[in-house]
């Protein structure tokens, strides 16, 4: 299983040994509503799990993207700056947020698999 999920409604896809792509889940984008602005972190920034690393703004409110894992941000999806709606329309694909080189791969074990996440959001 290469995709895992956080309680903060992010998906984390493992690409190789210690590289992950992170985005928000469909459930998250539905809750947020239409996105109008995404503030991304800088490439090279360190992030630690639980830290706010990005701000997602809908018409109504601003929400934080919470780092689901720790590591170094090696790429950001700068298309989101001009087309935040990508995260709504294709949240698991073109609407990805950041790529992170993990500093502690064991953190992945604390994330949920798809079926656990699906039961989590049904609660």
């Amino acid at each position: 299983m290469s995709i895992k999920f956080s309680e903060d409604h992010e998906w984390v896809e493992l690409k190789g040994d210690d590289l992950v792509v992170i985005g928000i889940t469909d459930f998250a984008q539905e809750q947020l509503g239409d996105l109008v602005y995404v503030e991304l972190p800088e490439v090279g920034d360190e992030c630690s799990r639980g830290e706010n690393i990005s701000v997602i703004e809908s018409v109504k409110a601003a929400s934080d993207l919470v780092a689901p894992v720790s590591g170094t941000i090696i790429e950001v999806n700068s298309r989101l700056e001009d087309e935040p709606e990508l995260a709504t329309e294709d949240s698991m694909g073109e609407g990805w947020f950041i790529k992170v080189k993990l500093s502690n791969t064991s953190e992945l074990d604390d994330l949920m698999d798809e079926s656990a996440y699906n039961s989590f959001i049904e609660e």
Partner: protein, 374 residues
């Protein structure tokens, strides 16, 4: 009037749930913030076609009595005595310090009979204020079991005319009493979106029938409170608790236009309302702060509460309403700023999460108002 502290619902609650609305608590009511269409599309739909809003949480009050007009004038800095029959006027309840207790719409139903629509969050306080302060000259009646629907947008008049043709000749800020499909409706050509449209007051038990009738027209979609807020913000309209509050005079909230000439210094019936000295001195000598439109640079929304600084880092104001304007595809904001810095045309910045966002002072509204004036 019984004041029930538990969360209330409007008579259209089940209909909102059936329509898939996201419900949120607002002013003591469980209200639809958005429907499956989403805030942005609901907003655009209202600007292009017709949006239907349940605003039954707002307060509806009648003042009945021989001197109702004169009595109401003692509480608002607005000309009520000369308000023609079946016409509406925007008014403000002031307090003794010249601040604003609430804003409201007043309709003259028959010289001895006035109809008021007040904000949901203020309605109990307004009712109490009216009962305590208006004197014995008229009876204050809080209308229970009534609903209020707003139909807003460029297609609103066509939609309503199909059901009741005589609404098409109504102009902005006029009212009519009509029977639609056996339902007693009180209709005004008004609203709070910047678009042409109508507000319809009717018995709560009939609201679902009328809402269904209106929604049966394919131009009409339910629109929630989320889009109602972005629509009024684009239209540059003040919202109580944001641009208006007990601590600022109407002049400090840039509502000079709402202060009737006859109630100002030198007018035929100058003063004679709570806080008149302060309000008239602000009008005559200017006020320390004003409410202005702000256009933030870039795409990042600048929201309520963001502080405004000048280029030297002096705090000069605060954003009262801010967000994203879906029709403009860019962020917009309204802020209260010290007049001195506006006169000096200081370069201004809004502080968002520690960043300084350049903002330009612009004229309100952000989007042209499309009222039907005949």
């Amino acid at each position: 009037m019984s004041i029930d502290k538990k969360i209330r619902t409007t008579s259209l609650y089940q209909m909102h749930l059936d329509a898939g609305a996201k419900m949120v608590p607002f002013a003591g009511y469980e209200m639809p913030v958005s429907y499956p269409l989403g805030i942005k599309k609901e907003h655009i739909h209202t600007r292009e076609k017709a949006g239907l809003f349940d605003v039954s949480h707002m307060g509806q009050i009648r003042l009945v009595g021989k001197n109702a007009k004169r009595a109401l004038e003692s509480l608002v800095p607005v000309d009520i005595i000369d308000l023609p029959l079946m016409k509406l006027r925007y008014a403000l309840f002031t307090n003794k310090d010249g601040g604003v207790m609430d804003d409201l719409m007043v309709t003259n139903l028959g010289d001895e009979d006035l109809f008021l629509v007040v904000n949901a969050a203020c309605k109990e306080a307004d009712f109490e204020h009216l009962q305590n302060s208006i004197g014995v000259e008229c009876k204050v009646e809080f209308l229970e079991d009534v609903a209020l629907l707003a139909l807003q947008g460029p297609k609103a008049h066509e939609v309503l005319a199909e059901i009741t043709p005589c609404t098409s000749e109504m102009t902005f800020m006029t009212a009519k009493q009509l029977v639609i499909n056996g339902i007693n409706c009180f209709i005004t050509r008004s609203g709070y979106t910047g678009e042409d449209g109508f507000e319809i007051s009717l018995p709560a038990k009939d609201a679902e029938d009328l809402a269904k009738l209106l929604l049966s027209n394919e131009e009409v979609e339910w629109v929630g409170l989320g889009a109602r807020d972005s629509l009024r913000l684009e239209a540059g309209l003040s919202l109580y608790g944001h641009e208006l509050d007990n601590d600022h005079s109407p002049v400090e909230s840039s509502l000079n236009w709402a202060l009737s000439k006859v109630r100002r210094t030198g007018g035929e019936r100058q003063g004679g309302y709570l806080g008149d000295d302060i309000i008239m001195s602000h009008l005559n000598e200017g006020s320390e702060s004003k409410v202005v439109g702000l256009q933030p640079e870039g795409r990042m929304p600048v929201r309520d509460g963001a502080l405004i600084e000048d280029d030297l880092g002096n705090e000069v104001g605060k954003v009262t309403s801010g967000g994203f304007g879906p029709s403009l595809e860019k962020p917009i904001a309204i802020a209260r700023v010290e007049t001195h810095y506006l006169e000096n045309q200081s370069k201004l910045f809004a502080l968002v999460r520690g960043k300084k966002i350049a903002v330009e002072v612009v004229r309100l509204p952000f989007v042209k108002q499309n009222y039907y004036r005949g």
